[in-house]
Amino acid sequence: MIDDDTEKNFLAHSKSLLDKSIDAIDTDTAAQLRTMRYQALEHKPKTFNWPTPYAAFATTAAVLMLTVSLWLTQPAEVNDARVLEDIPMLTSGEELDFYQDLEFYNWLDDEQING
């Protein structure tokens, strides 16, 4: 029991001395420690701050509106049958000028028949 008390006193005295030794650190060393702390803080990794729930909701709503508006204003469907009609014309070796003047040739043909 006596030994327990002696040990307790001894430990308390040690702790008290160690605590006091903190106050006894000179100002130069304290300043150096402060500078080192600031330097260490510069190594802090950058973090991405997630937006608040309101910002997340606003972003989602904006994306949704954009999607809907694009969907509603999309060009009318292209007639697949008409595209298919043009394919032989485009793939043939004929001069395209001939097809561009086709209306004129049709008129000329009609004139000759009537005339």
Binding site: H13, L18, I25, R37
Partner: protein, 196 residues
């Protein structure tokens, strides 16, 4: 105001209004002098001690700066003790080589107590006694094997429990108990007769 690691960390964690940079600054500010003293006791060299503390601070900020503040205390102690152990190993090798090539130069090492300013509040007699007691404690702690020194400082001064000390020292709880009791026995043996 005395630093209490537990209350300091709780206060930091509770103040959620602060951003992380401010919080970690507060944490390091609260712990830096104690860390420095531990490093001085281990190394008996001011510059080496400062280097160790700086390394520990940078490692904590870089690796765990984005973790919750409640983890910083145990992590910092773990990093600090590991850095001290690394220094100890390096200096052992360096001293061995120096001794091998140049013989025993019997170089006088810096006394860490030389750098301490005089506390102005105490009476000269008491101040002198305290300074002597502090010097004796520093010397006795420095002479302990490193693991005993770490166990004593973490358990007795930092107030860590056996499990936390084992985590900081990277050893088992059984080893902590052994080192701690041996440290107390050795310190009492060296100091008790000379202390008031």
């Amino acid at each position: 105001m005395r630093y209490n690691p537990v209350t300091a960390i709780c206060a930091i964690t509770e103040d959620s209004r602060l951003n992380t940079a401010q919080t970690i600054d507060q944490f390091l500010s609260a712990i830096e002098k104690r860390a420095y003293r531990m490093a001085v006791i281990a190394t008996s060299n001011r510059d080496d001690a400062l280097e160790i503390v700086q390394e520990a601070m940078i490692k904590l900020v870089t690796r765990y700066g984005n973790k919750d503040a409640e983890h910083w205390g145990p992590l910092f102690h773990r990093i600090l003790q590991s850095t001290i152990r690394d220094w100890y190993r390096r200096s052992k090798v360096r001293n061995g080589l120096r001794h091998f090539f140049f013989g025993n130069t019997d170089e006088k090492e810096n006394d860490p107590m030389d750098e301490f300013a005089d506390p102005a509040q105490t009476e000269p007699d008491q101040q002198l006694k305290e300074q002597q007691a502090m010097q004796a404690l520093d010397a006795a702690l420095h002479n302990l094997p490193l693991r005993q020194q770490q166990a004593f400082l973490l358990r007795q001064w930092e107030g860590l429990d056996v499990k936390q000390t084992a985590a900081a020292m990277d050893c088992s709880t059984g080893s902590v108990k052994t080192h701690y009791s041996r440290a107390i026995a050795a310190l009492r043996n060296q100091l008790e007769d000379h202390w008031p």
